[in-house]
């Protein structure tokens, strides 16, 4: 169904009086419908927008008219004066359109930027999780001792923790449920499903909108084909049909029964950028709880702390249980620790500081905008002072005059906020698409009531902050009547105030420019890092079987995927093809092995473990990793029964064979039976991306026809043309023989982009802020210099009459501008220097006190400032001495 343009409708709704809202919107809605049906949707939308644009003015006028009439009926009310003030303010602002436009633009940009960033920060980091008493929710995990990363735990731990803990109401486990593919008339759709234990819903204190949640019986393998729908999925697929409970839901994998629907507010996991479509029971096999050889940590385990139990006690409780388990099966817990944190911290802990940094930066933009508007208002006060003095002489109280000034600021800031919020709505759309897609809770980011309240508070604060109230001191009123426009007296004081504000503006702009410079140079450094392989024109296809893969699934890989891979090899535009088992480069994960040299203890310290990959012969051609010594693998090395061989990278060679040649030496690799001979040394690869370290790596040949073991299998290929455009053909080739494999395709450019997304975002945002700051400061400098030149017209006239060259006049004005900027520059650079340590942790291997950055920030501002001052300076040089002198 076609709907009228939403933003336009919103504007209309905002502008029209509440009692007319229904009728006006209804009329437009109705006619939009008939127009869309006869003349097409696009034309109807254009018409709708035009209607709204032309209606906002009359609507607002009508509201004011009505209000005035009501006021007139009731007679003199305590606030009639305020209405008068506001009307006078609006009239005064309309009388000086150029001032009003500049002030509004500056305010709208500042408030828009702040509102947009605040929306993001609020949605991601400040708002609590959407569960009752969310502070009691804890995440229990087993992070890797090597990387410190990992927020998941294993099934046996979940089982034992839950049985033995005494400090939690209950624990719950969940994990990805693999792909659920539905087919209907619209084609196939892959649904996002999450497998959760029955304890999860009561633990979160969440009740379904329809039906029931899971019970213990649903957790039994074989009886677990039941599902709970999300509100969104229920509306999308079942048109919000309330009789959906009990109905079957058919997937490619079988038929599930719908037992419930969650309310729209429910979301789990909380940190997803795209919410789940449905939840199914987590139904572990009894064998899942045995601590065997493969230590899979793939469960998200949460608990609700009992009331009155501190975080420390809960942590000690879990640590105690884990310690005794560790004694029973030490190998299972090798290189794994235990962590108990609040769920909120686990989700947003490491982005919170980042978010607050963004908020701080945008705060500077707002501050600059305010200082600028205050400066503009001050310039205006020159003309308004006489007006105020006359009113005061006629008996207006000082409060009344202050109120008039406040009204003007308020009208400006309210209008600025309104435009700013509209800008923010649009800005948030852009931010959402340019933010790293893996940012937690990204889907919750929006301009909502909380944000609007903050914006309104901002409007009021700005209004009071920028009002030049001190202008109305009784002495100032007296002098401005006597002054009659000549310079000196209060006029000179105003000039000083303006210079101070200008210096503040310059200082703030320099701080932002320094920030922008730091982030831009940091990002440039990041891009210059040598990854050890070539990212462009490489495509990866995840061939790993579904989560619930059985041994049979693995056994079938050779026959199902094999021909598909051969087909990929023959595709046009594909240069090299290889398979890799173990996490491929730029994908997070660690498959590490301990290397043992003959007659020595194994290198099994966390730092000495080698990243291990099983690869086919052309792997290094695909990634263009140079061979340093010896040879790489051939197809023959992968054949069953071939002599076992291994490749090292240069870091591994230096670590394990300091000062000796590794080629030809036999080593033992943990997890591999029998010794393998080192046949070559290859260049190191930064597996974790540009910010990762160079670590020891070992490669062994992949006999993928008889592939078992590590469940991660990836096809990598180098294309001769753009890798992204080859993707669909590659996927089709894989699907021709293995149709049920999800086989997601990603280019390495995309992978790299995701890795650097946060830094790229920071750089863009800070650079934008810097540009905004320079532009606003430029406006400020232009305004002040214009004012000064006007004030000194007479003096300049005299100088010209006495024979001063126009170029000297230009120089004089520019020197004055430089003088004023100099104070701001010094202040800004020092403030930047002090504040830089707060952003140091967000920079990539950067010195937050890089002198080049500070020098260029200062340079950019000086150039911008001089350009802004050049216009009034040239105007001054064209002053006609005769006219200037006669004007007095």
């Amino acid at each position: 169904m076609t709907r009228p343009p939403r933003l336009s409708a919103w504007f209309l709704r905002m502008s029209v009086a509440p009692q007319d809202r229904d009728v006006v919107l209804g009329d437009l809605h109705e006619e939009f419908g008939t127009r869309a049906a006869t003349g097409g949707v696009a034309a109807a939308r254009r018409w709708y927008r035009r209607q709204v644009r032309r209606s906002i003015g009359p609507n607002l006028r009508r509201r004011i008219e009505r209000r005035d009439r009501r006021g007139a009926l009731v007679g003199a009310r305590p606030f009639t004066g305020v209405v008068q003030d506001v009307r006078r303010a609006v009239r005064a602002l309309r009388a000086t359109p150029s001032f009003t436009v500049v002030a509004l633009a500056v305010l709208a940009l500042g408030i828009g930027a702040t509102t947009a960033i605040y929306s993001v920060v609020d949605g991601v980091a400040l708002r609590g999780l959407p569960y009752p008493e969310d502070g009691q929710l804890m995440l229990l995990s087993e992070p890797s001792l090597v990387s410190g990363k990992g927020s998941q735990a294993s099934a046996p731990e979940y089982h034992d923790w839950r049985a033995e803990q005494t400090t939690f109401d209950d624990l719950a486990a969940s994990r990805g449920a693999g792909s659920f593919v539905t087919r209907d008339v619209h084609g196939a759709e892959s649904l996002r499903a999450w497998a959760v234990s029955a304890s999860l819903f009561p633990l979160l204190k969440s009740v379904p909108a329809l039906g029931r949640t899971f019970t213990k019986e649903d957790e039994v393998p074989g009886q677990d084909r039941v599902a709970i729908l999300s509100d969104e999925f229920w509306r999308r697929h079942f048109a919000a049909d309330p009789s959906v409970v009990g109905r079957p839901l058919a997937f490619e994998a079988g038929v599930w029964t719908i037992v419930g629907v969650m309310p729209a507010s429910f979301m789990y996991p909380a940190a997803l950028s795209k919410p789940m479509d449905l939840w199914v029971p987590y139904a572990p096999q009894p064998s899942d709880f045995i601590r065997g050889k493969l230590a899979a940590r793939n469960l998200g385990v949460i608990g609700r702390r009992k009331r009155g139990v501190s975080i420390e006690r809960a942590r000690a409780d879990i640590e105690r249980i884990t310690a005794s388990l560790r004694q029973q099966t030490p190998t299972w817990f090798q290189s794994r620790g235990v962590a108990v944190t609040t769920l909120q911290d686990a989700i947003v802990g490491n982005v919170k500081a980042w978010m607050l940094m963004l908020l701080g930066a945008v705060g500077f933009v707002l501050l600059i905008a305010c200082v600028n508007v205050a400066n503009l208002l001050l310039a205006r006060a020159t003309t308004r002072a006489r007006d105020a003095a006359v009113r005061s002489a006629l008996g207006a109280s000082r409060w009344r005059i202050v109120r008039g000034l406040l009204a003007e600021s308020l009208v400006l800031s309210v209008a600025g906020t309104a435009i700013g919020v509209a800008l923010a709505v649009w800005g948030v759309h852009i931010l959402r698409t340019s933010l790293p897609p893996n940012l937690p809770r990204l889907s919750e980011v929006a301009v909502n009531v909380r944000v609007l309240v903050a914006a309104a508070a901002m409007a009021v604060a700005v209004a009071f902050g920028v009002t030049p109230v001190w202008q109305t001191s009784s002495a100032a009123v007296g002098t401005s009547l006597r002054e009659s426009g000549r310079s000196g007296g209060a006029g000179a004081a105003r000039g000083r105030a303006r210079s101070i504000l200008l210096a503040a503006e310059v200082a703030l702009a320099v701080v932002l420019l320094v920030g922008a410079g730091l982030f831009v140079s940091s990002f440039a450094r990041l891009l210059r890092i040598d990854l050890g392989f070539e990212v462009s024109n490489v495509l990866s296809v995840d061939l790993s079987p579904r989560q619930r893969a059985t041994d049979a699934d693995f056994a079938r890989l050779g026959t199902t995927v094999g021909p598909g891979v051969e087909a990929v090899r023959r595709l046009p535009g594909v240069a090299w093809v290889a398979l890799v088992s173990g996490t491929p480069p730029l994908v997070l994960g660690d498959d590490r092995a301990a290397i043992t040299l003959p007659g020595k203890p194994p290198f099994d310290a966390p730092d000495d473990l080698a990243d291990e990959k099983l690869i086919t012969a052309d792997y290094f051609q695909v990634l263009r990793v140079p061979t340093l010594r010896g040879r790489t693998f051939t197809d023959r090395d992968s054949l069953p029964g071939a002599p076992q061989v291994v490749l090292l990278n240069d870091v591994a060679a230096a670590r394990y064979f300091p000062g000796t040649d590794p080629i030809g030496v036999s080593v033992l690799i943990s997890g591999v039976t029998g010794a393998a001979t080192v046949v070559g040394v290859v260049h190191s690869v930064r597996l974790q991306g540009p910010e990762g370290e160079l670590r020891p790596e070992v490669y062994t040949p992949l006999d993928w026809q008889h592939f078992r073991g590590n469940p991660i299998l990836t096809l990598v290929l180098r294309t001769t043309t753009d890798a992204g455009s080859t993707g669909p053909a590659v996927r089709a080739a894989i699907h021709s023989t293995a149709p049920d494999l999800p086989a997601p395709v990603q280019t390495y450019d995309e992978l790299f982009g995701t890795l650097v997304a946060q830094r790229r975002f920071n750089m863009i945002v800070l650079a934008l802020f810097g540009i905004l700051a320079v532009a606003i400061a430029g406006v400020g400098i232009y305004g002040v210099m214009t004012y000064l030149v006007e004030q000194r017209t007479q003096e300049i006239g005299v100088r010209m009459a006495l024979g001063a060259e126009p170029s000297r006049v230009v120089g004089m004005v520019l020197a004055r501008a430089m003088g004023m900027m100099a104070i701001g520059l010094v202040l800004g650079l020092s403030a930047g220097w002090l504040l830089a340590r707060f952003v140091g942790s967000f920079l990539f291997k950067g010195d937050p006190h890089d002198p080049i950055v500070y020098a260029s920030a200062g340079g950019v501002l000086v150039i911008a400032g001089l350009l802004a001052a050049l216009v009034p300076a040239r105007r001054a040089s064209r002053v006609d001495p005769v006219v200037a002198l006669r004007a007095q």
Partner: protein
């Protein structure tokens, strides 16, 4: 004695006439379309209601709300009806106009009275 308060602007006349034409079916959409069809002028919905409000305040028209309907997204209509005072005001406007036009041809030349013709010739 008619005062300036009762005189109607062109747009107001358009509105009253459109309501008169439409009879029982006069509400925002139809009024707008009626004026647009006859005068080829696109009216902004905001301006329309501002003027209609003014006319209702002068008791030239009266309005009532209808039940909400589906094709309007569940919103109700506001129907307008011409009152006798409104009809009188319309007639008065037309009469005043007619008097102003009296003695002019459509090309704005004075029409000569037969007696004057004689004098000239």
């Amino acid at each position: 004695m008619p005062t300036t308060r009762d005189s109607l602007g062109e747009f107001e006349q358009f509105l009253l006439l459109a309501i008169a034409h439409l009879g029982d079916d006069a509400y925002g959409v139809t009024i707008r379309q009626e004026i647009e069809r006859r005068t080829n002028r696109e009216i902004a919905i905001g301006a329309l209601y501002t003027a209609l409000d003014r006319l209702e305040r002068k008791s030239f028209i009266r309005s009532r709300m209808s039940e909400p309907t589906h094709e309007r997204g569940g919103r109700s209509k506001r129907y307008f009806r011409l009152q006798t005072t409104g009809a009188a005001a319309l007639r008065l406007s037309r009469d005043r106009m007619a008097r102003m036009w009296e003695g002019l041809t459509p090309t704005l030349r004075p029409t000569l009275q037969p007696s004057e013709k004689k004098v000239r010739s």
